[in-house]
Amino acid sequence: MSSHEAVVRITDAEERIVHWLLAASCLFCLFTGLGLQFQAWDIIPTILGGYYASKLMHIYSGVVFTGMLAYSFYMWSRDCSFEDADLQWVLKAGGYLWPVKDLPPVYKYNAGQKAFFWILIVCGVVISATGLFMWLWNPLVVPAIIARLAYMAHAGAVVLLGAFIVVHMYLGTIGNPGTASAMITGLVSRAWCQTHCPRWLADHEKKEAQQ
């Protein structure tokens, strides 16, 4: 064991940059979107220079979100593909809610992280597609009934995604001490890896040893 380093590089710069561009554009869209949804919160458009400016920022931030969403899919969909052992992990709630034994060892991402990824992709695609549609075409060229569904679906997908983002923020920071550094410096402790992604760690160290 002593031959191993105390810290392990778990994400590369590309992953961290995409993660933060996605997160920043997503949260900024949520912020401006809430300002456009709740008139009582007109402080949001006010500090951004008015409702029209707020609309434009929402749109352009949404473009960044869409691009980063596509890049995330390209980058992480393989790591986030489900495997048979994930069902056992889900049935035991990953050990987060009640004491469990024999949690199936995780490769890089556990079933909860994978589920979050796919909820992000599905909701993100709905939000991006309806948003693009509302911005460029709707409702001047399509029947009003379709246009109405776009506004509804945009808001509905935000409810789901917003709730999951809060879970993601909790589990990525204070809920799992030592995790946040994975998306800041890219380094986590070896013990952290042993706990959260033992199979990936074993693979990683085997590769390191071969070099």
């Binding site: 064991m1 002593s2 191993h4 105390a6 809430l34 456009l36 949804q37 709740f38 008139q39 458009p45 409702y51 029209y52 707020s54 609309k55 050990g95 987060y96 809610l97 509302m134 709707n138 409702p139 001047l140 009003a144 009934i145 246009a147 109405r148 569904l149 776009a150 506004y151 509804m152 808001a155 509905g156 935000v158 409810v159 789901l160 917003g162 709730a163 999951f164 809060v166 879970v167 909790y170 589990l171 204070i174 809920g175 799992n176 001490p177 030592g178 402790s189 070896r190 013990a191 952290w192 042993q194 706990t195 959260h196």
Partner: protein, 261 residues
Amino acid sequence: MKQEFVKLIDVSRCTACRGCQVACKQWNEMPASRTRQHGTYQNPQDLQWNTWTLIRFQEHVDKSGTLRWLFRKDGCMHCTNAACVKSCPTGALYYTEFGTVAINKEACIGCKACVAACPFDIPRYNEADEKIYKCDLCYTRLQEGQKPSCVLSCPTGALSIGKKEVMIEKAYARVKELGGDANVYGDKFVGSTHVIYVLTEKPEVYDELPSHPAVPFSIILWKNLFKPFTLIGLGAVAGLAGLHYLIKGPHKVHEKNEGGE
């Protein structure tokens, strides 16, 4: 609310002179657009950002096989429960003290949500200034105790405006007088409109006139369910995460493989 006003459109008295169409443009200083001859007197073909009211010319064969014109003055119905006001993110569309729906052009950001939401397909978008336009029932005239310009221009008495109760009573009296399929359109849906028709035919006979208008279900889901649930969802999950932290505590890393680190 001071006093709700209702504009009554008695289509049985309309001769399709289109004085209202012209008066509307004149008072609201809306330019005309170049149009094409489509083989009908209906001109332009539909409501436009600069055409807030339009006489629709419809050829109708009645039950006895007689061909007749049906004239209908189309325009904003000024709903009590207006889908456009509900969907507007900035409050640009608002209810006036007369129960009508006016628009604050400065506040409009051209999101077009109202265009999608309106069950009567009334608001029109102007690409040039990215704003929505529609009839405001001459709000500034009503404030000064004047009739809307369309009502003022009408030579036959097809258009009239007055207190809501009085006008509804007048509409039913006229329907009784006309008999047959004549009916009052507007007082039975979207919380009652502030433009009410006396129709000579059943509503479904008329072009572009919904028989059962309502605030669309998708708009209700959006604004009454998803909108509050955005905050409820964020708040509830944040609360649950907090509870988890207090009860279970953070998920600790196993120390067993640390090898003395």
